[in-house]
């Protein structure tokens, strides 16, 4: 293993294990809230806070070992989970997002575990400043898209419960964020994430062409699909007034493409 590869295989810190336990406990507590135990809500949110703090500490600890979030896709995934949890905490301050938490906590947990316990691979020899900026912005952009997608997913679940008159469904009983707010918030997040992702995409293209790599690789195509989906979403909303279910579905499709890019990167890194 090269020197760089050794650096990337830094063992998870104790804070990582705290975060893992807190994420799992938060998911269980939020599930309890959803099942009707309202008293668990502050406790569940406190656990999310603990998970977020421990996750941040783990990222900081890795930073002291010279392994930064922009060092590789694997590290970026860990950072992505951190952004998602932070965004969830922020949104929870305003809205009741129990159902969202039940989805977001396991997602953050899986991403964190993937980012820490999968083989590290080696640090690319050619990771320039441009590459680091590309990875950072792409992670941030996808993180914001992930939050928008989580809200869109909640929108679709709540919309379905309301349309099918499933008044005893958890989505209805939880009295979560109202549909109109979910739609607006998701749209705003796409507005924030889109320019970040656009810059990341351009920088990625420049970086790749400097490295002389072929731009026809599947992950680049999927990244372009992601961009197109979110661009189409913004245009359709602006010009035709698209919102609600259609907008939520397109947001999820765009994010699925972004997620596929990350997964392909991760698999490639592990295989290589």
């Amino acid at each position: 293993m090269t020197e760089a590869g050794r650096l990337l295989s830094v063992a998870p810190s104790p804070a990582f294990w705290v975060a893992v336990v807190a994420y799992a406990a938060a998911a269980a507590a939020l599930l309890g809230v959803l099942a009707g135990n309202a008293k668990l809500r502050p406790f569940a949110l406190a656990l999310v806070g603990v998970a977020f703090a421990a996750h941040g500490t783990d990222i900081g600890w890795r930073g002291t070992m010279h392994v930064h979030p922009a060092e590789s896709v694997r590290e970026a995934i860990g950072f992505l989970a951190f952004i998602i949890t932070g965004g969830y905490l922020l949104a929870s301050a305003r809205y009741r997002l129990t159902l969202g938490g039940v989805v977001v906590m396991p997602v953050s947990l899986v991403l964190l575990v993937l980012a820490r316990l999968t083989p590290a691979g080696t640090k690319p020899e050619d990771l320039s400043t441009l590459g680091r900026i590309h990875i950072s912005l792409a992670t941030l952009g996808v993180g914001v898209f992930a939050l928008a997608s989580a809200l869109s997913a909640i929108y679709l679940v709540e919309d379905r419960a309301l349309r099918r008159k499933k008044f005893d469904a958890l989505a209805f009983k939880d009295r979560g964020a109202p549909l109109e707010s979910l739609d607006k918030l998701s749209h705003r997040l796409v507005w924030v994430g889109f320019p970040i992702f656009t810059v990341a995409l351009v920088l990625g293209a420049v970086w790749t062409s400097r490295l002389g790599e072929n731009l026809a690789r599947i992950e680049y195509v999927l990244a372009a699909v992601t961009w197109c989906a979110f661009a189409a979403l913004l245009i359709a909303r602006q010009i035709y007034g698209w919102r609600g279910k259609r907008a939520a579905k397109l947001t999820l499709e765009g994010f699925a493409a972004a997620l596929a890019v990350l997964v392909i990167y991760l698999i490639r890194r592990i295989v290589e």
Partner: protein, 448 residues
């Protein structure tokens, strides 16, 4: 300490034709309370009279049980024969009464479990009793605690969750779609009573504007005037639908008015902004297909009823948890009430002990100020003072214990042993000589 009691009737024991016989008007309550506390052995009293219950909460004077008198009193006050209402009347005493008051305040005894109105009514009744001067320390404490228990129940359980009437269900559904209703406009199609009620409820919950439209302009005008809304011509229906966020429809039309073709145009014109349509007409005013449009949420009268029933079922499930809270709190209150019976004795005991100690310490200090004493003399003085205080305090109980009859003696001895944590040795035949409770002699005398 006197006992808390409850005498009354509620929807559980009496139908409305019986309940109305005992109902009190607001202005009749104060004189009734004063009569209760002056004519009967009732130390404190509160009277609550709502459409679902008429109850007297009171505290009996020591040694009395006024429940029967209060039954008579209620019948007499309302000029009905006791035998006509006796079967519907109930009474609770002591812990049962406490439990009942807590259950009533927590809305566990209400017709619709979890409804919030009863708490307000109970607070108002408490206010009237306060003004009438008939609520004393026990009733006040019981009611204050009952309000606390009600708050706890509402916070810790889902008993108050979910609307339990059609108008509130409309607001609840609107909250699912829009959250805050501020700035939302409501369109009432038709001039039905139900839709006007629902619209009024939405308005009270923050909706900005209500518009009424009807085939008959006169009826639209009349309803608009009644609910402080704008009346608009029927011909503008399409435009009004495009502008509205919430539509409540209850016309008497035989054919649907809110058709798929109409909504195809409307939803596009609205740019798929969310819209809630509540169709409470039978036959229905809205074609079910309009609920398939993006942004349109359609609910008919059966849907509203379904939500109502689901909410009531949910509340009843939460009632078990709420009952446990009430049980726990009632137990704690009962304990407090019991301790109140011994408080005067504890206070008198402390006062007596403090008085004895103060007299003896005062005398000792006087001796000290008269002459300078050596360290040994000071020690002796302190020992004597303590001995004297102990002797004086024990004199009375010892005398009473010695003079007790063979029946009382062992019981009193056991109580004393428990109170002072004593472990008396069996079989001791030594005579316990009680030192005389004399005044402190001077150290000089002791030396002599």
């Amino acid at each position: 300490m006197s006992d808390l009691f409850v005498v009354g009737m509620s929807w559980r024991t009496a139908k409305v034709d019986v309940r109305e016989k005992l109902a009190f008007r607001e202005e009749e309550i104060t004189p009734a309370l004063r009569a209760l506390t002056t004519e009967l052995p009732v130390a404190e009293a509160l009277l609550i009279s709502t459409c679902n219950r008429v109850e007297v909460y009171g505290v009996a004077k020591p040694g009395s049980d006024p429940a029967g008198d209060v039954r008579q009193f209620l019948a007499h006050q309302r000029a009905v024969k006791l035998s006509d209402v006796a079967g519907a009347l109930y009474d609770h005493r002591g812990s049962d009464a406490i439990r009942h008051v807590f259950r009533v305040a927590s809305s566990l005894d209400s017709l619709v479990v979890g409804e919030a109105q009863i708490l307000g009514q109970l607070k108002a009744a408490y206010g009237v009793a306060g003004t009438a001067g008939t609520s004393g320390p026990v009733l006040s404490r019981a009611l204050e605690r009952a309000f606390g228990v009600a708050k706890r129940v509402r916070t810790e359980t889902t008993i108050a969750r979910g609307a339990a009437n059609v108008s509130s269900v409309a607001v609840e559904l609107a909250a699912h779609v829009f959250g805050n209703l501020a700035g939302k406009s409501v369109l009432v199609v038709g001039a039905g009573k139900m839709s006007s009620l629902a619209a009024r409820h939405l308005y009270a919950n923050g909706a900005q504007r209500i518009v009424v439209t009807n085939r008959s302009p006169e009826k639209a005008e009349a309803l608009a005037a009644e609910i402080d809304a704008d009346a608009r011509p029927w011909a503008e229906l399409e435009k009004l639908l495009t502008e509205a966020d919430i539509v409540i429809s209850s016309t008497g039309a035989r054919e649907p008015i809110l058709t798929k073709a109409l909504f195809k145009k409307i939803t596009k014109a609205r740019r798929w902004k969310p819209m809630m349509v509540i169709d409470i007409a039978v036959p229905r005013d809205a074609e079910p297909a309009i609920g398939e449009f993006d942004g349109v949420f359609l609910f008919d009268i059966d849907d509203l009823d379904k939500v109502k029933k689901a909410n009531i079922a949910e509340r009843e499930k939460a009632a078990d948890h709420a009952s446990k809270i009430v049980e726990h709190e009632a137990g704690q209150f009962e304990h407090w009430l019991r301790t109140q019976a011994v408080v005067p004795t504890i206070r008198a005991l402390r006062d007596k002990f403090a008085q004895v100690a103060e007299v003896e310490v005062g005398k000792a200090l006087e001796q000290l100020s008269r002459k300078e004493l050596t360290r040994d003399q000071q020690r002796e003085l302190v020992q004597r003072v303590v001995q004297l205080v102990v002797n004086k305090l024990l004199h009375q109980p010892t005398t009473v214990l010695r003079g007790s009859s063979p029946d009382e003696g062992p019981l009193r001895a056991a109580i004393l042993a428990e109170l002072f944590g004593l472990e008396p040795q069996e079989g001791g035949d030594e005579e316990v000589v009680e030192p005389p409770a004399t005044e402190a002699s001077s150290p000089q005398k002791a030396q002599a």
